[in-house]
Amino acid sequence: MGLLSKKDAKLITDPLTDNNPITIQVLGICSALAITAELKASIVMSVSVLFVLGLGNVVISLMRNIIPSKIRIIVQLIVVATLVIIVDLVLKAFAYELSKTLSVFVGLIITNCIIMGRFEAFALGNGPWKSFLDGVGNSLGYAVILIIVGFFRELLGSGTLLGIKVLGDPIEKTGLYAFGYENNGFMLLSPMALIVVGLIIWVQRSRNQALIEEN
């Protein structure tokens, strides 16, 4: 990347692999469980978090020298809630269809631990540009996991991807279903998201032994 220095580029690439917010920092698990039953919802949530975390990190970073340390968590919460509500109101007024798709996610974004976690751990101590990169990197890391989980849950649970029947029709018994294949309804329930995330953590740590914590 010619555009970014090596250090800056690491801010983006690290959260994608060895410092992933979900699998390593274990942040944002709640939303990863809640909305990954279909791929489309995973993508929408990822884009929303990318937007809010990128912008929020910059705002917090700009305010970092004037925020009183005693009430910094509350200030962070207000900043993220305000951002989300402004976006929600503007969408409701000018892009009503889109806002209806996103309305479910509004509450999930405000309470997403990744956002508070990055404000607290990074934006409070770094400049706006670095904070922006960190926000983008972490939300991409979040997006990767959400999309992997969403992919497997929708494929195995409903036999569809983005709503398209890729495995055939379960009722007409075409495609794979003609051979007696059945959708696994269990994949649609939240516990299976946890198990899929667990499998990703397993794969990741067995490929990079340095990530395994000492007891």
Partner: protein, 248 residues
């Protein structure tokens, strides 16, 4: 962290200032955007009612409303009468579609007479009676519009929700679920109200059986599905007396 920002007085002033700034910003935005938002909601109600009676732009598998620009015009064209039923008293009101079902429900709870809106539409020589319904899902409110013929046989349905889980309960607004209601009977042979249950068990996956008072449930959305059954049962039942008068 510099010392200045640690003092109590600074913290207090900062907190008060922040609340004032954020509060007035949000209040200003909310009130200046309100007319737009209300207009969008009004158009959406018209689109929903039209959708239920089959005036929509559906393609092979997706539910698509008539576009917002023509909704008003189509609504005037297809909806011939808007009735308000208050006990035995039936009147016409061209703003009946703006009646807040939630408010009317709490009115009924307080013992007052509830205003029941009913929209009569004409399409291809057929008459549709569209009624709004409202109930509770897993997380928040769910609602919808059901179009019926004069025998209370469902001709079309539209469901929506405030915050059901994407991929599970939120699927009630997808066609594979809503379309199953078409042709289902609400009354039994004797004319008594039975309702339609969102039933597990997959006894009739293709939904060929139209007089079983059941449609196939969505996996992982039991509570939302039960909410749909409950709101159909409680809200459409209120219209039975009106439909009886049609027969006389």
């Amino acid at each position: 962290m510099s010392k200045k920002t640690d003092s109590n007085s600074y913290t207090m002033i900062f907190a008060v200032g922040m609340v004032l700034v954020v509060g007035s910003l949000l209040a200003f935005l909310a009130s200046s955007l309100k007319p737009n938002i209300d207009e969008n909601k009004r158009i959406e109600k018209q689109q929903n009612i039209l959708y239920a009676m089959g005036v929509n732009e559906n393609d092979d598998s997706n539910a698509i409303f008539v576009s917002t620009t023509v909704a008003e015009e189509e609504f005037q064209k297809y909806i011939t009468r808007q009735l308000v039923i208050e006990g035995d008293n039936i009147s016409e009101d061209e703003k009946a579609y703006m009646i807040d079902v939630k408010k009317e429900k709490s009115k009924a709870k307080n013992g007052e007479v509830r205003r029941l809106p009913l929209f009569v539409g004409e399409k291809d020589g057929k008459t549709f009676y569209v009624a709004p319904i409202r109930g509770k899902g897993l997380w928040d409110a769910i609602w919808g519009y059901v179009a019926m013929d004069e025998n209370m046989i469902v001709q079309g349905a539209y469901f929506d929700h405030k915050g059901e889980t994407p991929g599970l309960g939120a699927n009630i607004k997808y066609r594979f679920f809503m379309d199953d209601f078409k042709g289902e009977h609400l009354l039994d042979a004797a004319g008594d109200f039975k309702g339609i249950r969102v039933a597990k068990g997959n006894n009739d996956p293709k939904n060929d059986e139209k007089t079983d008072y059941e449609v196939d449930a969505i996996a992982g959305a039991t509570i939302t599905g039960d909410g749909v059954s409950a709101m159909i049962k409680s809200d459409l039942k209120l219209y039975v007396d009106y439909f009886k008068t049609l027969k006389q």
